[in-house]
């Protein structure tokens, strides 16, 4: 649709160059990354690129690379994926939270807990099954809640290490950290699905 000279001309435009520049994910350490609380109570990040360039992000999105098998390591820090700003690119990765000062790691950990909201079931008050739907009434680490589960056979997943993950009809996730540690009454109600 366009001949070569035309293409050439367009390419000379300066604003085009950043079209092709992709962000390179960094190894984030306390030396190159400074996490702070943002004005709105979220997490801000000031990062120093290897080139010496300092970038500031009003808010960042932490993501667990291994949310189930290793939630404390390999935390990806990404630009927010907002409607306006398009898809969030990865700024860098924290290999383990421990290398950061206590308050920073707690801030990130809190944020992760918020995002990966997975209440642990501590007590099962009632459990009924009817027409393939299960009705649960449980006390969790986040408070008491009732939920409905469809097809318990495929929505309850027991891991190799004995932890149990379950999903309700809305896609909410619950866990039982150690089914054997549940009280006898609660355990009996769910035994056959584990």
């Amino acid at each position: 649709m366009a001949n070569a000279t035309e293409t050439k001309k367009v390419l000379d435009d300066s604003d085009i160059t950043d079209l092709f520049e992709h962000r390179v994910s960094l190894d984030l350490t306390p030396e190159n990354a400074r996490f702070t609380r943002s004005g709105g109570g979220l997490i801000s990040l000031e990062v120093t690129q290897p080139s010496g360039k300092v970038e500031f992000f009003e808010r960042i999105v932490p993501i667990r690379a291994f949310p189930i098998s290793s939630p404390e390591t390999f935390i990806a820090i990404r630009e927010p994926d907002s409607q306006m700003g398009g898809r969030g690119a990865e700024i860098g990765m924290i290999e383990t939270l421990d290398i950061f000062p206590e308050e920073v790691s707690r801030m990130i950990r809190d944020e992760l807990e918020h995002r990966y909201f997975t209440p642990a079931i501590q007590k099962i008050h009632s459990f009924r099954e009817k027409f393939g739907y299960c009705y649960w009434d449980v006390t969790t680490t986040a408070g008491r809640v009732e939920f409905i589960m469809n097809n318990p056979g495929s929505n309850i997943r027991t891991l190799e290490d004995g932890r149990v993950f379950m999903y309700d009809i809305d896609g909410n996730c619950f866990t039982i950290e150690n089914p054997a540690a549940l009280d006898k009454h609660s355990y009996k109600k769910v035994e056959i699905y584990l």
Partner: protein, 783 residues
């Protein structure tokens, strides 16, 4: 008083809290209850939107916080797998929104965008996925209310909340009549199922009659062989010691042996005959009932809208058609009749036996309770074992399948030994599961056998004394022995029956769920019929989202005039294909209208629309059949000449005639497979044969090489002379013949105009164009 939108009903507590802070609880337009508190635990936080006050109020308990709408931009749901939060950009008081002033529309857009992303990001609230749909609706409504739109209570956005029963989460049969049938009427399900059988009243009657007859025969049989053959024919005559009445040997003659053995044989033959009749009737009945059920389900599915199929994977649907109908059939054929006959025979047996000798009957009935208990409590364990075993075996199969399908990779990385040991692991797990099942079943059934055998022996012993003491006859003993089987046999069936009922009800509910689904897209009651359309399309403030995703199209308005060739460009996921889906009414808009030739497509007859609008999408499906059949799928009456003409126009003729069987070549699953480009061309021919007034090409040439694409786009230009054509493409070269282009960005119509105009704007089209040219440039320079 402004009526509050039906998103959520405000509770007394919330309105009291608002009142306490001097806010009139009658002014808000809508409110939303979030189910997490600000710490992230379960709790209750209310957001109240009031356009009149220009505020959003956050109500937590008695506390009310005020967020002025004018200072908030870009409400955004930061959603994660299991939690969502509503974020907004809050601007300082001295940072007012920009005003257009001298700026052009495009400049103003950019400025507005920059402003929207400025300020401080604050969190308005958190919620779990249970509130996600409502939260999405809340933000959607918020944006629309901010734009000044008037939203009515019956806006399309509220439909999603009316359809599901709050109790069980299932869809209402009739959204206007908010009664969840599953929760209200369970007997109704059984009744409806019976309806399928009641069509064949005569056959049902015959089957029941046969059952009664066989039950009666099986009850009479031991009496004939015991009380008559043994006592009266074979036994020596005996007499009651007191009254002198003859007790046995009344027919102690040779001829009676022949007669009664003959009667027994006759009964056996009769019961066989009845069995044959019953089975034949059953076969007649069950095959027809299953066919009717499957047919109903399939018809209901065909009627449903595309969104249903997006939500339900094909495998699940096929399973529904086959498995559920089959299970219901087996319940009514193998379950209910036997249940009736077993119950009947139990009642008759109990009465009969207690009359004959109550002590012996007690012995006979004694083990029933332990046997039932064992079955009741041990069988679930066995089922658990079986399901465990089944899971192990299926995961072993999956592993095997996985490994053999990927054998190239296995060999390439020399992982044969690793795979073998992995298989060994799976096989070991399976054998362990097998072993456990065997152990459990080897425990349950012998125990039951011992109980039953013990009973028999106890009976022999006890009855022996009774017979010797002449308190009962030898024949009665034979009768008892004959009945033991009838007592213990059905016990297993009975303990299973409740499960059978639940399973069947599950299947039935699933089946009726499909049958009762209301299609999302329905034809208007009195539709407008159009024989031919000109092809003028108008989008008027169209909003759309695929339930339950985020908004896909936001306030889109445009007009495409008759005969225009329009190109739609934009990033993947920007909403281009959605526009095509809306024009063909695969989905209905959430708000706003689409008109063709001035007629709202919701009012148009579905047939008129689909006959005049043809769509070729990137996903082509070739049905099983000949190429000829595939091309004339939409118009089976088309002549050979027309088919060939369409194929030529789609540039498919050449490759088709080069096939050994030409247009008669069988294609589709399991037969000759066509390449991506060939399938694409067949589907274009299919669309062209319809001779539509409006042609939509949704990435139709994406799977072809540039040369073929050029040929096809030329062909399309030839046939689309005077027709309205909409081309959707990400490869811009596809669109070079378009009269004008529309660039869609993030669900908004960002740019519209000829290619040259758009290039000058330096917007989205310019970016895409530059990116594609850059790649070309690299190739040319050999970089």
């Amino acid at each position: 008083m402004i009526p509050i939108l039906p998103l959520e009903i405000m509770t007394e507590k919330v309105s009291a809290a608002l009142k306490a802070h001097g806010i009139d609880p009658a002014t808000p337009d809508m409110c939303l209850k979030l189910d997490q508190d600000m710490k992230g635990d379960y709790g209750e936080v209310w957001l109240v939107y009031s356009r009149a006050d220009g505020n959003i109020y956050r109500v937590i308990g008695d506390e009310v916080e005020t967020f002025p709408l004018a200072r908030m931009t870009a409400p955004y749901i930061d959603n994660y797998t299991t939690s969502n939060r509503l974020q907004v950009h809050l601007h300082a008081e001295d940072d007012p929104p920009p005003e257009q002033g001298e700026m052009t529309d495009d400049e103003f857009r950019e400025v507005k965008k920059a402003y929207a992303n400025g300020g401080t990001t604050v969190v308005l609230g958190f919620c779990t996925n249970s509130v996600k749909l409502k939260l999405l609706a809340f933000t959607g409504l918020w944006e629309r209310l901010d734009r000044g739109e008037e939203i009515a209570d019956d806006d399309g956005i509220f439909n999603q909340f009316e359809r599901a029963c709050p109790k069980c989460g299932r869809m209402y049969r009739d959204p206007r009549n908010r009664v969840c049938e599953h929760c209200v009427n369970k007997k109704g399900v059984m009744g409806r199922l019976m309806g399928y059988f009641m069509v064949f009243k005569k056959q049902v009657f015959v089957v029941l009659l046969c059952l009664l007859a066989t039950t009666a025969l099986s009850l009479v049989n031991p009496i004939v062989s015991g009380s008559i053959l043994f006592d009266q024919v074979i036994s020596e005559p005996t007499f009651d010691a007191v009254t002198g009445e003859q007790l046995t040997g009344l027919m102690h003659e040779e001829k009676y042996v022949y007669i009664w053995v003959g009667v027994l044989t006759g009964m056996a033959l009769l019961s066989m005959g009845i069995g044959i009749i019953q089975n034949r009737t059953n076969a007649y009945l069950s095959t027809r009932v299953t066919r009717n059920m499957k047919n109903d389900i399939f018809r209901a599915m065909q009627r449903l809208s595309l969104s249903y199929f997006n939500a339900n994977p094909t495998g699940k649907l096929i399973n529904r058609v086959n498995y559920d109908a089959e299970r219901i059939r087996s319940f009514f054929i193998d379950g209910v009749p036997y249940f009736i006959s077993h119950v009947l025979s139990y009642i008759v047996l109990t009465v009969l036996l207690f009359c004959m000798n109550w002590k012996l009957t007690l012995i006979l009935y004694a083990p029933i309770i332990p046997v039932v208990l064992i079955l009741k409590f041990a069988l679930p364990k066995l089922w658990k074992c079986y399901s465990h075993q089944w899971r192990r075996s299926s995961s072993m199969n999956t592993m095997m399948n996985d490994s053999l399908s990927g054998i190239r990779v296995v060999k390439a990385f020399a992982k044969e030994d690793g795979e073998t040991s992995r298989f060994y692991e799976y096989a070991t797990k399976l054998y362990k599961a097998n072993l456990r099942t065997q152990k459990v079943s080897m425990f349950i059934f012998p125990v039951i056998s011992i109980l039953v055998a013990g009973t028999c022996h106890a009976m022999w012993g006890f009855a022996g004394f009774e017979v010797m003491g002449e308190r009962m006859t030898y024949g009665d003993l034979v009768v008892y022995m004959g009945y033991t089987g009838m007592i213990f046999g059905p016990l297993n069936f009975f303990t299973n029956f409740t499960n059978m009922v639940t399973d069947t009800l599950n299947s039935a509910v699933r089946m009726f769920e499909v049958l009762d689904q209301v299609p999302e897209v329905v034809e208007a009651p009195d539709p407008v019929r159009l024989d031919a359309i000109d092809g003028e399309i108008v989008f008027d403030h169209v909003n759309f989202h695929y339930n339950p995703n985020r908004p896909i199209l936001k306030d889109i308005s445009f007009t495409i005039k008759k005969g225009d060739h329009v190109g739609l460009v934009g990033h993947t996921g920007s909403g281009k294909s959605t526009i095509a889906n809306l024009i063909t009414r695969m989905y209905d808009t959430v708000s706003g209208t689409i008109t063709i030739d001035g007629v709202d497509i919701k009012q148009m007859e579905m047939n008129s629309l689909r006959r005049n609008v043809a769509i070729v999408s990137q996903e082509v499906y070739i049905f099983r059949g000949t190429i000829m059949d595939n091309i004339r799928y939409a118009r089976p009456e088309a002549t050979r000449a027309e088919v060939v003409a369409a194929a030529k126009a789609a540039n498919a003729h050449d490759f088709i005639v080069n096939l050994p069987e030409g247009y008669d070549t069988m294609v589709g699953i399991g037969t000759r497979s066509l390449s991506g480009g060939e399938r694409q061309r067949v589907s274009i021919a299919r669309a062209l044969l319809l001779n539509p007034s409006l042609l939509i090409l949704d990435e139709a040439t994406a799977a072809m090489d540039t040369e073929t694409e050029r040929l096809i786009s030329e062909a399309i230009d030839r046939v689309s002379e005077g027709k309205t054509t909409i081309s959707i493409a990400h490869r811009l070269s596809t669109l070079k013949n378009c009269d004008y282009l529309m660039a869609i960005d993030n669900g908004e119509l960002a740019e519209m105009g000829s290619a040259e105009e758009l290039l000058e704007k330096k917007g989205i089209y310019y970016k895409l164009w530059t990116l594609q040219n850059e790649q070309l440039h690299k190739v040319m320079e050999g970089r």
